[in-house]
Symmetry: C2
Subunit: 184 residues, 2 copies
């Protein structure tokens, strides 16, 4: 593998409430220079995506309006960490706000990038098990519909065309593999 | 499912070479209004991610510098469509540029969103088979390293920590399912 490229220069191109666009001048180990743009987080903190298992084969999905694509999407609950929260704490809070359950068992499955060539963002994937009913008020503009789905029927879920998010799809496949490999 | 929310107002907040940030005022069917920001494509066209199969169990990955996360990532080749290109044509061109192969067989597997709550972007997932050696010059700043990997060993790939992209992981799992289900 080549040596990691060097950042020669970094400037802020634009800023909004949520986004921060940076221009990077990069020099590769072969001497070639190239300019890139990337999106960085507009505020500190990370993001979590939760795989809530009602039992070993039933995952709880939510149907939520997604402004980026302007339609309802069926996918996993998710959100950003609040100041001072760990990823596991954020996952449990979002689960209570969006799905109406807390989890006695939280396990960090993986860390995903979304589009590593132009987004700095990473998402922590948290498997939530041993659920108990607890509803917290979130900032949702409307009640979210909770949709139980058989984890083993991921292909049928994707075929609905309602679940398009790569993070949700990858997290569901990984949860399935993890649960299959776990000793009984 | 509730009626789809209505866009009351849409304004451009910021623009750069690659990105276009929009503010949306949205009214939900229950009357609640909320403001969102989303990123839209700065220029027309779509994106493709290619799953190039050297044989039924060997996928060709590339190791590429990813400016968004400022590190090398191991993942699937990808790129944007050029004007007038179909997704399949773009997939075959990117494959020739990044991996040094063309494909006689191209199959549209799925369409992924990345972060549907704040990104408009979609990526078309293309399975490429029946490969033949052909190298096209791309715009890569350095030669990309091609890494063959057993498709059945996705978990080992994720465990390297070098393949974090949700789109690549989801596409690899889907390709594995698709090839397993295909009659011999």
């Amino acid at each position: 593998m080549a040596d990691k490229p060097i950042i020669l220069n970094k400037t802020t191109v634009a800023k909004s409430r949520l986004f921060h666009i940076e221009a990077l001048d990069i020099q590769f180990s072969n001497g070639v220079q190239r300019s890139f743009e990337r999106l960085t987080r507009g505020r500190p903190g990370g993001a979590v995506l939760i795989v809530p298992m009602l039992d070993d084969d039933t995952v709880l999905l939510i149907r939520e309006y997604s402004a980026g694509v302007h339609r309802y999407e069926l996918g996993l609950p998710k959100g950003k960490t609040d100041p001072g929260e760990t990823f596991l704490e954020a996952a449990n809070r979002e689960l209570k706000e969006e799905v109406g359950y807390g989890a006695n068992k939280l396990h960090h499955l993986s860390s995903f990038s979304l589009a590593p060539s132009y987004l700095e963002h990473m998402t922590e994937i948290i498997l939530a098990e041993d659920l108990y009913a607890e509803k917290l008020d979130g900032d949702e503009p409307e009640e979210l519909e909770v949709v139980p789905w058989k984890l083993s029927e991921i292909n049928a879920l994707i075929a609905t065309g309602e679940c398009t998010e790569a993070r949700s799809i990858a997290a569901l496949f990984m949860a399935l593999e993890y649960l299959k490999a776990r000793p009984l």
